[in-house]
């Protein structure tokens, strides 16, 4: 579904990513893990069109998307639930969700999608008229995830969803991600919360210093001495 091939990217003269290759197949949850500054955000920004690449190729649904503007990539059915939530704080909860359905195809179905998103997140329905800035961090993450579902995406990139949230809320977030996959959405999950992420994912890529240093199914990764030492503190 998503194929990143030998991608190099960065900011000006500062190269961050070096020949990164990665693949996400239909129906999978693929984890991308790595520490701060490993280049996870740069990779995500390249995939969603916010950042141009130096070289390499990105394909989504067998269509080349590198070089396309973000809105065109969104229209193809790739949804990005960004790091730090990035909800529209001065809009109501309902308006935030409606913005998620902005691409023409999903806009037509927005009422129907809205009721199914409200079913998944009852708290959002209770507060649909409230301004999003009044929400707590956990609620904002729920809103960002609901918004990401409003476009009826084929692939969801979820960037650091558990960042800064209480353990109980983090559990809820991971339940929701499993639930999303059950609904047929393919997921690329970027996380620092390595153990929980590997437990719900099918395969994982480990990014260090802008290079993929390990890839494989999650059981293998969990068993690896390097992962245990560097990410699980065992």
């Amino acid at each position: 579904m998503l194929k990143v091939d030998k991608l190099s990217a960065g900011y000006g003269n500062i190269q961050i990513l070096w020949d990164v290759s990665l693949q996400v197949n239909k129906g999978e949850i693929v984890a991308l893990i790595g520490g701060n500054g490993a280049g996870k955000s740069t990779l995500v920004r390249s995939i969603t069109g916010l950042l141009g690449a130096y070289s390499g190729n990105i394909e989504f649904l067998d269509k080349k998307i590198s070089g396309l503007e973000p809105y065109k990539i969104a229209e193809l059915g790739l949804s990005h639930i960004p790091e730090g939530r990035r909800i529209f704080t001065e809009m109501s909860v309902r308006e935030n969700l409606e913005m998620g359905a902005y691409p023409k195809n999903s806009w037509k179905n927005r009422k129907k999608t809205l009721s199914s998103v409200y079913e998944m997140f009852p708290r959002l329905k209770e507060r649909e008229r409230q301004l999003a800035r009044t929400f707590s961090g956990g609620e904002q993450q729920m809103l960002a995830m609901g918004r990401g579902l409003m476009s009826l995406p084929k692939l969801c990139i979820i960037d650091e969803p558990s960042n800064g949230l209480a353990p109980k809320v983090v559990m809820e977030i991971f339940e929701i991600i499993k639930n999303m996959r059950a609904q047929g959405i393919t997921i690329l999950l970027i996380e620092q919360n390595v153990k929980q992420t590997l437990e719900i994912s099918d395969r994982a890529y480990v990014l260090e210093n802008g290079r993929i240093v390990m890839e494989g199914d999650c059981a293998t990764c969990l068993a690896s001495a390097h992962i245990k030492k560097a990410y699980l503190g065992l």
Partner: protein
């Protein structure tokens, strides 16, 4: 009492027009990130087009039907060509804002020189609904009431557009966080050009409204750009309700100072501006 009413009601009436000019600049600067120094020149041009059409015997409110779409298209194309070009070539938003402002400076001279070439620099005026109506002990001109009502009406329609349509919501989302709006599927370059176009259209309509109340001249634009800058800073950059309320406040301040010492009215607005920058740069409705 008469003095208070003169200042308060008179200020609200002129404030309506200020609000309209400022909403336009707020869209251009607050959302499209171009500090359009030529904003007042668009308004001046609208005023002169109105003057010219009424001299042919057209009711002076009719030209808005032509001015609004025409100025919208000019603004839209200008953004798509000049400002999008600068935006794409700028390494970061700061560079875009400063280069955009420099380009707008050029635009200011171009529009102004063309206007002087056509209409010279003497003031023009005509009488329209120049009768008065009384509120208590005070008298006001009917044309100013019509102009203020027109401006408020357009402000309300635009507010409804922003809050209840797909494009309007896209504009509000882009005003808050344009990168994230892009991730949601909003074509940012298109939406920013829409904002610039709407801003130009509002300036043009404001020109019509100025023209039916006050004498006009080809050099009047900059003063309105300055006042609008103060208002959008007061109201909070990019906030349409803020521009609206700010316009009414500055209208009253301007009228009060103008009554006492006409030469200091614009200066008084600037004093407010500087105090705001020091005390509350976000403005009253700012985030």
């Amino acid at each position: 009492m008469a003095l208070f009413l003169n200042i308060f009601i008179g200020g609200l009436l002129i404030g309506g027009i200020y609000s309209l000019v400022s909403m336009g600049l707020s869209l251009q600067y607050g959302v499209a990130r171009v500090f359009n120094i030529a904003h007042g020149e668009f308004m001046m041009f609208g005023a002169f087009v109105t003057y010219w059409l009424q001299s042919l015997g057209v009711n002076p409110l009719i030209p808005t039907i032509v001015i609004a779409p025409l100025f919208f298209v000019v603004g839209f194309i200008l953004y798509r060509t000049v400002f999008t070009g600068i935006r794409v070539r700028s390494p970061n938003p700061g560079v875009f804002e400063s280069n955009g402002m420099l380009a707008a400076f050029g635009l200011y001279f171009i529009v102004q020189n063309i206007a002087v070439l056509i209409w010279g620099s003497t003031p023009y005026a005509f009488a329209y609904l120049n009768t008065s109506f009384g509120i208590g002990p005070s008298d006001f001109r009917v044309n100013r009431l019509v102009a203020a009502a027109f401006a408020v009406g357009i402000g309300l329609i635009f507010y409804l557009f922003l809050t209840s349509t797909r494009s309007g919501k896209a504009i509000r989302a882009a005003a808050q966080d344009s990168a994230t709006a892009g991730l949601m599927g909003v074509d940012i370059n298109f939406v920013l050009a829409l904002c610039f176009g709407f801003g130009a259209a509002m300036a043009g309509i404001a020109g019509t409204l100025i023209c039916i109340c006050y004498p006009i001249s080809t050099t009047m634009g900059l003063q309105y750009t300055v006042i609008a800058t103060v208002i959008i800073t007061l109201g909070g950059l990019g906030s349409i309700p803020g521009s609206f309320i700010g316009g009414l406040i500055i209208g009253i301040v301007y009228t009060a100072v103008n009554y006492w010492q006409p030469g200091l009215a614009v200066a008084a607005c600037y004093v407010i501006f500087i105090i705001l920058l020091l005390v509350r740069p976000k403005g009253i409705m700012g985030r």
